[in-house]
């Protein structure tokens, strides 16, 4: 491993011509079409690179598949609910009692994952349960359930109707696209609570005096840990999204490539993000799950997987990353985080987090994931099988995501 790190850490100036192995995306797609492509999951790639080195790995493997499945608050869906007679220019819309944003064209709405029902008691009785929200509406839709849509309008000459009440299912909707402004965060804090009281956060319930440490990425399987400088991922990359296919449409909100990185180029803190989109009609309730975060709010757990074409040995090396090499920061969500301070109490590796226990100072703290590793692995396997069987081709990104190759060491 040491040899690899030394060989590739200053790779920012490496040109295509310097690689010993060089494949084009078109060549890889040709192999996929003829059923000859070698596709492995990011987990399987670790052993291959360790055993054979990145050059042979790049020779052998064409695509590495990744996966992640966890609550991703910045998610939602654009829906067009179709015109009725007479028409309506909806100004307020509720789906199963959950308000949707209607400040778009007449019957276009956006339903956001974290929007609670209008009658939700929120945190009035602390901690609130947030049992139903926008994420649950999206799951109900993809599950084929009928939802209740209610709209109000002020009425115009062309669209005189002032109220609409109807039951619709996904198949009735003329258009429904999942469109998530920020998914697949490249790394995330590990959260603890140093105060004397239990707190309820988007990082889960945190017990007092560092009673637990919660973390939330799929580590070595996570898409952006396998392509840390976004050398293959960009606008137009075709992905597994919510059980169907989707696309990366832009860098996500808060995409921040300029964070401190390890020698391997892995962000030590939250770094890059993806904005993704895909047809809701092809998705499944197994991979879009409405969730309730106690005392925090509702959200949507999203299944997402990105295929990484092994264009050269550098990409092979990067996809060989394992949990021992990925680090994150332990941050206090009791005092520090609410004050906007992300002070690191400790740097830990994902391998340490996965042992179930980390040591902070002289205290042993129990760790727990919020992101499902089992489901992340399943996504990587499904995507691998889709590609091996020739039914999923890779798409050439039209523009790569903004990347900064600053080799920060601290």
């Amino acid at each position: 491993m040491e040899k690899n790190v030394n060989a590739l850490k200053n790779d920012r100036d490496i040109q295509m011509s310097h690689y010993q192995i060089s494949k084009s995306l078109e060549e890889i797609n040709e192999k996929i079409r003829s059923g000859k492509a070698v596709v492995v999951t990011a987990e399987e790639m670790i052993g291959i690179v360790r055993k054979q080195g990145e050059i042979r790995a790049a020779q052998e493997v064409d695509v590495v598949t990744t996966g992640t499945f966890s609550p991703m608050c910045s998610s939602g869906a654009f829906i067009n609910f179709g015109h009725s007679v007479p028409g309506i220019k909806a100004s307020q819309v509720w789906v199963n009692g959950v308000p949707a944003y209607a400040g778009l064209a007449a019957v276009d709405i956006y339903i956001g994952a974290t929007e609670p029902r209008v009658d939700d008691p929120l945190n009035l009785k602390y901690p609130g349960e947030f049992l139903y929200g926008g994420g649950h509406v999206i799951q109900d839709l993809v599950a084929g359930k009928t939802v209740h849509l209610r709209a109000e309008a002020y009425g115009t000459h062309c669209y005189p109707r002032k109220a609409l009440d109807k039951r619709v299912s996904l198949s009735d909707l003329p258009f429904a696209q999942l469109c998530n402004p920020r998914n697949a965060y490249q790394n995330y804090n590990c959260a603890v609570n140093v105060t004397d009281k239990t707190i309820y956060t988007y990082m889960g319930t945190l017990r007092p005096r560092m009673g637990n440490a919660n973390y939330c990425t799929s580590g070595q399987l996570s898409p952006l840990f396998n392509d840390p400088y976004y050398q293959t991922i960009g606008v137009g990359t075709r992905i597994f999204l919510g059980g169907g296919t989707g696309y990366v449409v832009a860098a996500g909100t808060q995409h921040n490539p300029g964070v401190p990185r390890t020698e391997r180029g892995l962000p030590k803190r939250p770094g890059g993000t993806l904005m993704v989109m895909g047809d809701l009609k092809h998705m499944s309730p197994r991979w879009l799950v409405g969730v309730s975060l106690l005392g925090y709010g509702c959200s949507l757990a999203v299944g997402l997987g990105v295929p990484i074409p092994i264009l050269n040995e550098e990409i092979a090396f990067r996809t060989g990353v394992s949990d021992e090499e990925i680090v994150t920061q332990v941050v206090d969500y009791g005092k520090d985080y609410p004050r906007g301070q992300g002070r690191s109490l400790k740097e830990v590796t994902y391998a340490q987090l996965k042992t179930g226990m980390i040591r902070i100072g002289d205290k042993e703290v129990k760790t727990a994931p919020l992101s499902s590793y089992v489901r992340a692995r399943e996504i990587a396997q499904i995507l691998r099988d889709w590609i091996s069987s020739g039914k999923f081709l890779l798409a050439q990104p039209q523009e790569l995501l903004p990347s900064e190759r600053i080799e920060t060491r601290d």
């Binding site: 499945f69 966890s70 609550p71 009785k125 901690p127 349960e129 049992l131 889960g204 319930t205 017990r207 637990n212 919660n214 799950v289 409405g290 969730v291 309730s292 975060l293 106690l294 959200s299 757990a301 996965k354 179930g356 129990k366 760790t367 727990a368 994931p369 919020l370 992101s371 499902s372 590793y373 089992v374 489901r375 692995r377």
Partner: protein
């Protein structure tokens, strides 16, 4: 939602008071009577399931006790609805026993009912509410 299954014993002198009714009026609790034998002037026994906010359930029970009612909890069992569990692991942070744990090899989140002590800490932290409280009804209604 916090739920309790209880056996209430009413001493003869209070069986004519509408105590259970106050639970819903004053403490905003829902109840479901599973069994009741109360005759005015004799000891009464009632098996009921009450639900509401935890604090109010506790206050309601304090109220009943203050009126002389003997309140006993009934064992309940925690089950995992495997159809909806998303295998995240959030529950393992709360579990004080080894009932919920992550298998090192497979990374699966396992639930071992025999290790569960019924503390219910996992119930509300589960993002999909897969940990369900079931009352061992058969143990009471004999």
């Amino acid at each position: 939602m916090y739920k309790r299954m209880l056996v209430l014993r009413f001493p003869p002198e209070i069986t004519d008071q509408p105590l259970v009714c106050s639970l819903s009026r004053e403490y905003d609790l829902c109840f479901n009577i599973l069994k009741a034998t109360i005759f005015p002037g004799q000891e009464g026994l009632m098996v009921l399931e009450i639900s509401g906010y935890k604090k109010q359930v506790q206050e309601g029970l304090r109220y009943l006790r203050s009126k002389g009612v003997a309140v006993k909890s009934i064992a309940q069992e925690i089950r995992r609805n495997n159809d909806i569990c998303i295998q995240c692991g959030a529950c393992t942070a709360m579990c004080p026993t080894k009932a919920l744990y992550i298998d090192d090899e497979s990374r699966e989140v396992r639930f071992v009912p025999s290790e569960c002590k019924g503390c219910e800490l996992c119930v509300a932290v589960c993002p999909v509410r897969a940990m369900e409280i079931r009352f061992a009804k058969d143990k009471v209604l004999v």
